[in-house]
């Protein structure tokens, strides 16, 4: 069962995000993260960062396998989060989704010691 964060997760008709702390930390992003979702995603990532530090968790899995689209503004927030990370981030990807195939390897270049892409 998912243990939710203290803030409401992002949940709109096109985009859904939730965090599960049952076995480690898993952030699941589903649907289409359009520009309109940017502020909510930014708030979620900021809170998530605080939780991960507070719980002293060494890593988090970001499950993107059902994320069909992510707008550049949302990716910008993801990058911002990665820049401040002090824990490993494992991006679980779906190579059949074009944007993931192209963009996620570049995302790992920001810090290869922390960010890995899993196919």
């Amino acid at each position: 069962m998912a243990v939710r964060l203290r803030v409401p997760p992002v949940d709109d008709p096109d985009f859904f995000a939730e965090v599960d702390f049952t076995t480690g930390a898993v952030l699941r992003l589903v649907g289409s993260a359009d520009t309109i979702a940017t502020p909510e995603l930014a708030a979620l990532l900021q809170t998530l960062h605080g939780e991960l530090i507070a719980k002293a968790l060494p890593e988090i899995v970001v499950d993107l396998r059902d994320l069909d689209f992510m707008a550049a503004t949302c990716v910008r927030e993801l990058v911002h989060w990665i820049e401040g990370a002090r824990y490993k981030i494992r991006l679980r990807s779906n190579p059949t989704i074009v944007w993931q195939r192209h963009a996620l390897p570049a995302l790992s270049c920001f810090d290869t010691t922390l960010v890995t892409v899993e196919v």
């Binding site: 503004t73 990716v75 990058v79 074009v98 944007w99 192209h102 570049a106 995302l107 270049c109 920001f110």
Partner: protein, 492 residues
């Protein structure tokens, strides 16, 4: 030569501002296809590339170069790019921001610069980037719109509102004064004149990078500075700075010939780039002179015809060809390298000068060299004239320099109550003496709480000449610089 920490800190701050500007302009150009935003992107990236090279941030320089490639492709497509491309530009900007933020001595092992560059190359390949060829037509014309930047013109237009805010604040008391102080200070910080010093020390930072650049190109150069120190506004300094950056790089790259070619022409093997800065007639003029080969106008003409900038067979004089050289995207190079060839440098220099009402011109002679000259108007920053204290006003009033004190009592002066003239409650003072002033045409009397004396004032908020006053400071005390002939009822 070690780069000073101060210069690096300055670069970091400036670079982050440039990246924010590029990001905002990128979003704008994708949404409304604004030509001005497109040009801002090109100029800011090119300038950032040059600056990063100067301070030794070679990684930023490399990503800048790739970003220029991406923008070239986007521009050639009229910015009709897909999400994949948008993501690449966004990540490139963020990657640069991260590189700029990194600290010396910190662990950089996790940053995969080659991997990131490969990613950009992959995006370029997918978008049929064909080796940076520039043989095609000029990029499509985008829509033009009014710039939203705070130009000096806009500042002057907002000046009267700031003057009103100052007067209201200056005469207010208690909590109201605290509230108005915040509004006045906000306006003052937003549109007030900010001063800076242009000097050889300021521009000398370009010397090591120019020499290094020339060396990379197999050339030898001396860079000589003859820069008159002058007080200017921060906008003027920024424009001079941009001009020095691009014109020195251009001189090293395009102007100065390799040693063998110079010696064959009976020149010294080492070329000279001379920067001259002169403050004259209300302008600051920066000249960048090289003793290179001069501008090959035939080559410029041929390239201009090829790009459709001038009709084939038309008679085009050299002055027009110099203008063409400053056209966005113009370059005589058929391929861009890491230093030049995109036709951005001269455009950036001219744009930053023209934005401030200035100009860019060139003198050249084949075989002898070229001198580029940037002239930028510098607003009058200081005023020397009479100051008075007026009843009911708790700040000094400085008279516009066209006004002087009359020694004798005129026969029919116009007597004004300054407080009432400024829209405040009339002072109704009966205890003060009157002084009389003239501008040669009008004679007015004003109640003065002191004998008028000469002061040196520094302009702070400028307004159109039709406004009653500006804000100026005397010994750091804020006051009004008054145009008495603009007081309501004074003019016939």
């Amino acid at each position: 030569m070690a780069i000073s920490e101060e210069l690096i800190a300055q670069f970091r701050a400036t670079a982050m501002t440039r990246i924010e500007t590029i990001e905002a302009s990128w979003m704008r150009v994708l949404s409304v296809l604004a030509e001005d935003a497109s040009l801002v992107i090109q100029r800011e990236i090119h300038t950032l590339k040059g600056e990063s090279r100067i301070v030794g941030f070679t990684d930023v320089n490399m990503v800048c170069h790739k970003l220029e490639d991406l923008v070239d492709v986007a521009r050639a497509r009229g910015y009709a790019v897909d999400d994949d491309f948008d993501l690449a530009v966004t990540m490139a900007l963020r990657f640069m921001a991260m590189l700029i933020h990194k600290r010396i001595g910190s662990d950089l092992s996790g940053i995969d610069l080659p991997g990131f560059v490969r990613h950009i190359d992959g995006v370029l390949d997918r978008h049929e980037h064909t080796g940076r060829s520039r043989s095609g037509s000029m990029p499509p014309l985008l829509s033009r719109s009014v710039s939203t930047r705070m130009t000096s013109h806009l500042r002057t237009q907002l000046g009267p509102a700031a003057v009103d805010a100052f007067v209201e604040f200056a005469v207010a008391q208690g909590a109201r004064r605290d509230r108005l102080r915040a509004s006045w200070h906000l306006l003052r910080d937003l549109i007030g004149i900010q001063r800076a010093i242009v000097s050889a020390a300021q521009l000398g930072k370009y010397k090591p990078s120019a020499i290094s650049l020339a060396k990379d190109l197999g050339k030898e150069i001396d860079v000589v500075f003859e820069i008159a120190t002058a007080e200017v506004t921060t906008e003027v300094l920024a424009a001079i700075d941009v001009a020095a950056l691009h014109l020195v790089r251009n001189a090293a790259d395009h102007g100065i010939e390799p040693p063998a070619a110079r010696i064959a022409k009976h020149k010294r093997g080492t070329g000279t780039i001379r920067l001259r800065g002169i403050s004259r007639d209300g302008e600051y003029v920066l000249e960048v002179e090289d003793d290179g080969d001069g501008i090959d106008f035939e080559r410029v003409r041929a390239r201009a015809i090829e790009l459709g900038l001038v009709p084939a067979g038309a008679i085009v004089d050299e002055a027009r060809l110099v203008e063409v050289m400053c056209h966005p995207g113009f370059s005589t190079r058929s391929e861009a390298n890491e230093i030049s060839g995109r036709g951005v440098g001269l455009d950036a220099v001219r744009a930053s000068a023209v934005d401030l009402g200035g100009s860019l011109t060139a003198r050249t002679e084949r075989g002898k060299g070229t001198t580029w000259s940037v002239a930028i108007p510098v607003p009058t920053l200081a005023v020397h004239n009479l100051a008075i204290r007026a009843p009911g006003l708790r700040f000094p009033i400085i008279l516009d320099p066209s006004w002087r004190l009359l020694d004798s009592h005129p026969k029919m002066p116009i007597v004004v109550d300054l407080a009432a003239a400024l829209g405040l409650a009339p002072s109704n003072s009966i205890s003060t003496t009157f002084s009389f002033f003239t501008n040669g045409e009008l004679e007015i009397g004003m109640a003065c709480g002191n004998r008028p004396g000469h002061v040196d004032a520094r302009r702070l908020i400028t307004t159109p000449s039709t406004s009653i006053a500006e804000v100026a400071t005397v010994d750091s005390i804020e006051g009004l610089l008054l145009r008495p002939d603009r007081i309501p009822g004074v003019l016939p």
